[in-house]
Amino acid sequence: MRTLVDQPSARRATDTQQPVVLVESEHSLPLVHVGLVLRTGSVHDPRGAEGLARMTARMLRMGTRGLTAQQVEEKIDSLGAQLSVGCAPSYVQLSGVVVEHNLEAFFQLLSELVVAPAFRARDLARAKRETVAELVGVVDDDRSLAARHFRSFALGKHPYARAVAGTTRSVRTLTRRAVLAHYEKHFVSSNVIVSMAGAVHAERAQELVARYLTLPRGRAPKQDAPETSLAKGRRLILVDKPERTQTQLIVGTLGTHALDPDHTALQVANVVFGGLFTARLTHEIRSVRGLSYGASSSLGHDRRRELWTMWTFPAAKDAFKCLQLQLQLYEDWVQNGVLPGELKRAKSFLVKSHAFEIDTAQKRLDQRVEAELFGLPHDYFDGFVSRVKRVTKEDANAALKNRLSLRDLVIGVVATASELEPQLKQLPNLRELRVVPFDRV
């Protein structure tokens, strides 16, 4: 093992060709959470083959050289386990939980999925049909539809703009050869982070990894996504869907990277704006005016600088009014900053609520996995509270001014265009308004 962490001490070995193994022991319940994270994701999808990393991950549970897809599923359920396989821009994750006495059998199965996938042609054809059907089904969910179009429109040609699942067209073109090539390049032992939390000791985890996770040694390609950027000006994409009584609204711009010196200051400032129920955005939109059931803002994070976004979903009749108010609140926040009382409350919340970030072994472990995956110092999350305590009003306001753009802003809307488009055209400083049909995925 390269790294072995069993709270509170950390031990490191020297072989960089082996998986990183992270463990958080807690024996109050007979459960173990198990994760395998690979440093590969949609950023590695070649142009025109969007969805390749996700398809490769999906194929893992569709059968091994010794098991059919149905046998894999039977085994998971019979062991009293759950497994999910996910893909993001920067990683693929197999995430499971199992009753303690079946840990070895479950880890053996997980390892078999990763080490010996069959990638049968007929299973790939089936997985492609399933994926296409799911993509078409996305149009039923307005929030997913909004997120998908907003991200693609905001980030343009950057790899983070790609739809992780691909498009109906790109998925249809994926071949077995491409899947195999992606697998062989990325599924090597040095590219894996193994995590176990719960009723397991570090030595046991280490033993299981050594026995079953026999991936080839080697180095996977580095994640070389360029820095993110936004096109100039205020731009809006309107996803036209009939019969909408409610409008999905996302407004965003670039945020910070976790290692930026002003990242924590921006996190605190964001809590003031849209991170709490009493935050400015929620208060003005929901509590005072009842315009939207939900109103919040958040700061994304990944290996590169991610987006800061705010979300609301007002009634169609109120959509334009709500958007105008959001933009006004945003401008006021960025230009005039936060008030001392707001800052004090936000810091108090972040410091005191930290207990809920670490109250289970799984949450503590997730932080360590994230630090490892995103190249953060291993004690990055341990220092969160002291970093928050140090943030001053001047820090928060400088982060707002320096990081959040008033000019380069992207707006995503799902609504019935015939009802809202004429109003949206009245937005000041709008450089582009693009209308797309809801059923084009």
């Binding site: 319940l29 059907a133 039923d140 409610q246 315009l291 108090s348 919340f349 809920f356 109250d359």
Partner: protein, 428 residues
Amino acid sequence: MLAEFPFGEGGQIVTRYTLGNGLTLLLLVDRKAPVLSYHTWYRVGSKHEKPGKTGLAHLFEHLMFNETKHVPRGQLDRLIESAGGETNAATWVDWTHYQSELPASELPLIARLEADRMQNLVLRKPQVESEKEVVANERRFRVDDDIEGQVSELLYSTAFKRHPYRWPTIGWMDDIQAFTPEDCAHFYRTYYAPNNATLVVVGDVDEEEVLQLVQRHYGKIPAARLPRFTPGTEPPQRSERSLELRRPTPAAKLALAYRGPSFRDRDFPALALASEVLFGGRSSRVFARMVREEELATDLHGSLAPFADAGLYEIWVSLRPGQKLPAALRMLDQEFARLCKHGVTEAELLKVKNRMELGFLQGMETAAGKAEQLGFFEIVYGDASALFERLKALRAITPSDVKRVANKYFDARRRTRIAVLPQNGAAA
């Protein structure tokens, strides 16, 4: 009054206390993390409403975050957030549930705030009007612009003719928009009383301190005279009820609902296992056949409503674009018939028991999870200690139990069916 029962197999003890005014307290000292879950369950949900006043229990849940005689508007959230806590609430047919998660040191704060809003809420017109708008927006989000939400509402309003389960917890839009502060005040006086509530406290707390605080803050709140709940007797259903909708969707959907037992009924665990055999996980019979083998559906699930009175067993199937509803219905009918005729194997039963046990354990990982399970069983089942009896009951179920309940409940003559077709009609 005091009763104790062991909490699972980890040596923890839940203690039940009842104050003189009828307030029940369930206390579980759990020192795993320096946090606290403070949950308040009221035995009032949408089934206690009247036609024309639907959605009042849920609107009221929202209003409980407004001002009281001692705490100005917005201050409750501010105090809890400044203390590092989060607070939320939920309403369903049988209950309303307020939950706060805080650092353990904040017990005095939350006990004071919860007791205060049990007796001192102030209901003013501007707040009621604003909250009605929020709820109307919530309804648009969950129902009006969501096909599954629309269908679920229609399923209940078609399946039930007399029982109040026929209207949605969020309420009909016209009713939501017509509520007055007086409606809300009457509801508050009627149902928000200590003898209609259970507190559940789980976390790193001192038992003596909890008891002192609860006695100090709640002890003097008078009990209320609670109305008797008398749902109408549901007339027997003798034939399938069926409806069809057209919506802007690329693929057809199908919802079915059989009559189900109450959560308190001894058939409930066996029927829940039968549902797992059919729909639980990717190895389940229906998923394997309809999603993987026949490629007929993209998503499906079955769920047995955990209601205090007899509810529904619901099935939802999203078809793949271009697939036809009659084929999906035929396949579902075949799987229900197969279960009724041949039952389940021991291995199949063991598999679904393992899955359900895993779900149970996962619900116990946090203080909040424990508090929620305890409160739910106390309110819906009538006894929190039944939580562990339920696990034992699940373990004891045999294949013949599953076959018996399948034959008893999977009767197509007592079924409700809603079909959703794409507006262009392609998948019909």
